[in-house]
Structures are given as C-alpha cells and as structure tokens.
Symmetry: C2
DNA sequence: TAGTGGTCTAGACCACATC
DNA sequence: ATGTGGTCTAGACCACTAG
C-alpha cells in the first residue's frame, strides 16, 4: 500500500505514486532506457488499481520522464532540451540543431497555393487583388524524432520560385540562401496542450505542453516575407534570448503589440 | 450515442466528445459563464460513462475553454491572454497588467535568507565567502486571479535594504524605483505540465501547461542583481518580442548559451 | 499465443456548495 | 438533504509486439 506520507500535504494517490516512481528513477533504481514493471505489476507493487497506475504514468509521460510503447512497455527516457535562440541571428533551426549535435531534416506535409484569410492578408500586408499565398506544413526532425510542426504562409512572389527548395529545407535558411533578406521579426511565445491531431504528428501524448513560436518576418523595406508558427514539444525544446535594455525606455514603458 | 463520424480519422471517444462540446460552445449554444449539464447528464446525453465524460472535460479544461468548481458545476470560460514583452523595456509585469486593464498585485509566500546553492552562486557570480542570498516566492495576481508564481534569488547586498519593498511589490519595478539599474538579461522560455503543488498555488488543474520565464538580470558593470523564474498559466499568458537581425550575424550564427 | 499498453464501463465513496 | 465535481476500484475489450 501507498500513503501520502506524514506531514505532507494531502494529495491524490496517483500523484504520490508519480513522485515515488520519479524518486526511484532519480536514484538510479531504474536507469535510462530500462523497462519499468508492467502497469499490472506496478498496481500490485503499490497496492492500487491499474487505472490509478495509469494516471501516475501519464503524469510522468507529460514530464518527459518515461515513454510508453504499446505492446512493449514503459521505459525511462533520458533527454536534454534543445535550445533555440530568439536573439540574433533569427532562429535558424537547422543551425541550432547541428550545433547541439543532432541530425536535422524536415518532411513536408503539404505545400499549396490557397486564398489568404483576412488574418493572413493583414499579417503579410497583401493588397486584396493578390490574395493568393502559399501555405506549407512540415515536420522538423532531430535525429529521426519529430520535435516540431511548422506552419508557414508566404506571399506568392516569394514562394513561387522557391517551391522546390522550401519543401525540402528549413524555412529561414532556404530564404537566406536565396538572397531574401530577413531584417526583423515580430514574434510571440505561448503554450497549449497537444490536440489529438498534433499528438499524432509529433508522436506525443495527448495534452503534452506544446510551445508555440509565432512570427512575422520582415525583409527589405519592412516587407513581410513569411508568417507562421512552429509548434514544438515542450519536453524537447527551449527558447533563449539576450535582452539589452535602453535607459530611456525602461522608465516609461512601451505599448505591447500582439503578433 | 456518439461516433467519431465518417471520414474522420479514428480517435478516442473522449476526444470526439471534447470536440463536440467545443463546437457547441463556439456556436454559442453555451455562452460565456453559462453552466454546462452535469457530468452525469452529459454522460446520458452522449451515451457514455461518466469516466469518459470526465476525460473529455479534462481536455477542455486544459485548453482553457471551461472551468470546473467542485460542488457547483462546469462553466464556459471566456478569456484573453495577457501579453508580456520580452523586448525593451525589461518585463515589467505590473506595467503590462495595468496597460491591459487588469488590477495587479502580489502576495509574498516566503522571503528568507538562505545559503546559496552552487547553481545560484554561479548565476549571481558570488564569491564563496558571501554565499548568503535572499530567496523569495510570490504569487502574481491579475484581477484577484493567481496567474503566476515567481521565484527569485537576490544577492544579500541588493535585497537586504529592500526587504520590505520586495515583499510587497513587483520585482523589477521595486528594483528600478530604488535606483538599481537593470541593464541586460539572459532569459529562457520553456514549458512543462503543472505539478500538484503548483496547481494548488495557481488554482490550476494538474498538468496544465505552465510557461517558465527564467532570467538572470544584470545591472551596472555586468553585475547580476537577481536571478529566478516566473511560472505562469499558459492559458492566461503570452510573451511577445521584436527581433532585429544584424546583417553580419545572420551569416555565421552564434553559439547558444543556456540560462 | 501470451503479455503489454490504450480505451471504456459501472459503480463506489468523498469533499464541497447550496438550500 | 441533495446535487455537484474529485478520486479510486475492478474488470472488460481492443490493438500492438514478440516469441
């Protein structure tokens, strides 16, 4: 049997079991890659039902501590987060992955010309007459593991001549390599739980926190060249930045724009 | 009874029910603040067990679409995210909240002098002899709703004379107001599912995606004045930034430091 | 075929809110 | 006292993996 222990604040059984298992893993009683007892056996070990064991395991999965494989078992997952920079230079995912020792590649899910929504028209500053844009969805891999889904929209003038390259490579690098300047960007970072569809794309559990990096990137003359977002597994990714404050601004504050 | 529908990819029942409920809410069949049928009644409506209804509701809760209150019911939750800027000026939470129409305040959970861990010594660049630091935990409220937990560590020389003010006000504003310059910062953003303890502090469901804003802030002469992190509810908060790329840097890339 | 995780059910008991 | 959500149980059936 398992209890929440003396002096500890009252907490659900499945939380106590999560912590117990986490401790055992941290102490090395189960090492990286090793298989844990089956859900049924864990239930016997802790004296709880399989349902409760499953809730405990779900907690650990969402923390990235273990992974499950249907038909095989539960395994300890050792992993470090991949860091992406928000400072200069603008987010080159492939560079960041390479620097940190991962093989990187993309798989294009779709690439097609569509009618721009009003939101896209606004973001890309399109005139109404040229409201055709290219929309792309692709998966970003690090060492054969899908870590992010990227969704981009390009003005037709940008994407049309680069259709081939954009489907095979990373967005920013492809644009840079084809002499399209990336001067500035408005970006935002937020998080939401993985939907069912996204959890399939990223081989992630439903509800896993997903980091959303949204951006509008501007080229010469403040002209938007791409807008979109990168949805990445929060257990694999982290964004870092260096901030310099200018004296004048710190006093009065600035309006905060949306992206 | 409920089915996943024709032509739709096979998906669990509770996901289908989540979507069904979300559609009904989006269509206005349940408006903001309105109470949904009870779990038991929803089970009858959809022809599924209460357990399955609960999983469906859990999905909606983590998306911030509904909130539950024990003993009362399930309610539709309309809400917009609060935006915080990563650009200049350095993240003044209180300014951002005020600008966006929220009443802001903090509640100090703890404020005490402790021995710095090696990690803190490194981050605050302390000499071994002066390894005493002040550690503070406080909750940040927007309109009486707890939206973030902030954990800070200060060098003793900084925090000692400001003990009172730091416990009552926002960190950055308190430092600024007391003539401590904030020149630059190394920051990172990541996300993880709410632990049980954190879910209590923030009145959030277990596993809700939490945004983690970590920082080391430097004053004059690159001297660290505070390090810590702000753990905020992802359904309430969003970070935005403006990036300017310098031509020289975009070509070669820069090493990516951790924080 | 046997063992594993994935989904779902029916029902119990509890804590909390309301009348 | 009643109705609500929160937790837990015992057991069923399925899909996947492996020998």
């Amino acid at each position: 049997m398992v209890s929440s222990g003396p002096g500890i604040q009252k907490q659900p059984l499945h939380v106590a079991i999560s912590q117990k298992l986490k401790e055992q893993i941290d102490l090395g009683q189960y090492s990286v890659g090793e298989q844990l007892p089956s859900e049924f056996n864990l239930g016997e070990l802790f004296g709880v039902s399989r349902t409760t064991v499953r809730r405990a395991i779900a907690n650990l999965i969402k923390q990235g501590i273990v992974v499950t494989q249907q038909g095989k078992g539960i395994f300890v997952s050792g992993r470090q987060k991949i860091r992406f920079s928000l400072s200069n230079p603008l987010m080159h995912f492939d560079q960041a992955l390479q620097q940190q020792g991962y093989a990187s590649r993309v798989k294009s899910l779709s690439f097609q010309q569509i009618n721009a929504s009003t939101e896209i028209i606004l973001k890309l500053q399109l005139s109404d007459r040229t409201s055709q844009v290219y929309r792309q969805e692709k998966i970003i891999y690090a060492d054969d593991t899908p870590i992010a889904l990227e969704i981009d929209c390009f003005p037709a003038a940008i994407a049309s001549p680069l259709a081939e390259a954009l489907q095979q490579g990373f967005t920013y690098s492809t644009l840079s390599d084809n002499n399209i300047a990336l001067k500035s960007a408005k970006v935002s970072l937020e998080s939401f739980p993985a939907t069912y569809e996204l959890s399939n794309h990223l081989a992630a559990p439903l509800g896993l926190p997903i980091l959303v990096f949204s951006y509008i990137v501007y080229g010469d003359n403040q002209q938007p060249v791409v807008c979109g977002k990168t949805l990445s597994r929060s257990d694999w990714t982290q964004y870092v930045s260096q901030i310099e404050t200018s004296e004048a601004m710190t006093k009065k504050g600035l309006p905060i724009a949306s992206v």
